[in-house]
Symmetry: C2
Amino acid sequence: MKGEIISVGTELLLGQIVNTNAKYLSEKLALLGIDIYFHTNVGDNEGRLKECLNIAFKRSDLIITTGGLGPTADDITKETVASFLRLPLIENKEAKDWIEKFFERLGQKPTPNNYKQALFPEGANILPNKNGTAPGCIIEKDNKIIVILPGPPSELIPMFEEAVYPYLKSKTSEIIKSRVLKIFGLGESKVEELVKPLLFNSNPTVAPLLGDGYVTLRITAKGHNEDETLKMIEDMESKMRGILGEYIYAVDKENMEDVVVKLLQKNNLTLATAESCTGGQLSGKITDVPGASKVFKLGVVSYSNEAKESILGVKKSTLENYGAVSLETAKEMAQNVRKIAHSDFGISTTGIAGPTGGTPEKPVGLVYVGFATNKDVYVKKFMLRGNRSRIRARTVLHALDIVRKYLLGIKID
Amino acid sequence: MKGEIISVGTELLLGQIVNTNAKYLSEKLALLGIDIYFHTNVGDNEGRLKECLNIAFKRSDLIITTGGLGPTADDITKETVASFLRLPLIENKEAKDWIEKFFERLGQKPTPNNYKQALFPEGANILPNKNGTAPGCIIEKDNKIIVILPGPPSELIPMFEEAVYPYLKSKTSEIIKSRVLKIFGLGESKVEELVKPLLFNSNPTVAPLLGDGYVTLRITAKGHNEDETLKMIEDMESKMRGILGEYIYAVDKENMEDVVVKLLQKNNLTLATAESCTGGQLSGKITDVPGASKVFKLGVVSYSNEAKESILGVKKSTLENYGAVSLETAKEMAQNVRKIAHSDFGISTTGIAGPTGGTPEKPVGLVYVGFATNKDVYVKKFMLRGNRSRIRARTVLHALDIVRKYLLGIKID
């Protein structure tokens, strides 16, 4: 099945918002084996929307529109589709009741405009909207399918998942599944070089993609049933693991912090952080994970030397002799925060995130990460590239990766 | 001038990436008074790209393509445009030299594929690429302009700013300027209600937009010269300020944390944080601002009760009688971190970010923010909606907003 997406909204053409709906839908449609060949963004303009519909009807079997279902006069998607298909607009009783109840709950009365949202092209299959007042609909005509969805992602996503995905699944026979492997510690070109022979595989396919500070490999398999498809993915994944090993840190939606918190929970171990250059972003990431309170005991953001001394007990002589950004300071920060917090591990960051503060000896991008256990203390030195925000984000990833490696018994090189 | 954007790349149609280039370019083109009526995403496929070019040439004066300029066989944008315009591809000596030098610096030799990036449609004006190997180009033919740009934003944005923007500016006479006002503490519908009469203004226009936890109003003015346009914006801004006053916390690219750090710097004042539910995200935001080290002294992430007691000195009786999420604990956290850090202000957060941990008396979303000065201590209670990540992000904004209000002499209600 060939499909395309038409997103309606002048705000897209003015560059006020990014079209995340097209990305979301394309990802889901790819999993259904539907080939999406075009995305079009067009404004809230009847003539130009009709032009897009005309082009799309000639070349695609499935057309999904997003946006333009609001109550105001400039919301014209349903009206334009109806006119294009020469279908009258008919009031849907259930949709009308729903709108009235929605306003009743707010203690308000719908305006005449709101009733516009209860009108649909004749014969349309109505899709209820649990998160707003604009229902969507599906129309089948002349062997084409047109799906009309609201614009706000908070309304579009649940509607697609609950109603549109099952509907489209019933129209396709192939099963497509995909899995994303996340890799940290190797550059994109290095990953490509290592797995190159597998990148030319046709089923499952493997596509590399650069994430924010990490690299992903997406394995996508087409099959006739669930088991066959899954087996193809698993075989490819084990080949990848044979090549990339410990550099694969997570699968699918999991993040580095999820993996680390899960490993700590599993081993009943606790962590404390002492941050300088990351300024709280490391503990912020860890505590993003629900249930982190069981494994995270204390975070100290010792941005000033005074705080490094008085709260963390870093020796004055260490700061004077080696400086705040040094192996020695990172070491004491990690060891001391561990002791203060009575935690199993202490992890520290100190570095120069820029844009100012760099010197020839200690340039912007120089970062030390310290990691203390009840037996040992490790300090790893990094030279990171990029702007302040990238240096800080990569420091957080490196710090978490050290904990991950330690917990998995991988050598911290 | 009517324009449209064609983004080339199968990764867009598979939903692997969001098209941020179209947003970026649209925003810039709007400022030049160029009407963008369509965005199209199409795969790396000659036939379908030609189809898009054919449609675009019929309806637009300016066509901008993004992507498909790489060295590999599936990068076909330049080749397809040349074939569509019936122009031969000619090797550009400067581009060839540049590619050879680029590889020389890496200690490598270009492959034959790389020389493809030095070929351009005859008569094209070459746009150097300082951040990659793919130059762009501008072609003028049959009263149409076609601009060919690389796909990676890190290459496209500098190329557009340095070469394309000035080129297009020379083709237009109108001046368009815009300014964004950021509002915190009022919902989108409330903001719209308050400024409603001004939303129907035609020049400057005012457009409300929901940001992530805040509301923005974009003022856009068209004029014949710089001064006139600026004056129109300033007049509208002062009307907005008359209505929204202190709720406007920042302008254009400035964030809440930039405003707070700037105010602290200006007044030579320092801050310390004691975080529970935000887990370091508050200090993480503050230290995102370059130069924050001058105003930020210490952050403590006291996620456990033990840390609240031992590091921050919150009284055991307070924790036992009122609980960790309480007005009393927030108060002691703010007061004590201020004393420990020897800072002018102490700010604290404690709350239930969810998804678990809520009770009927203390549901998910209950948050206290404490703020201590040398004279007073304020605690503000919030009931925030949304998921864990949203509750944490909004708590950070509220905490920063309290500091902002205090420093501006605005009552903390």
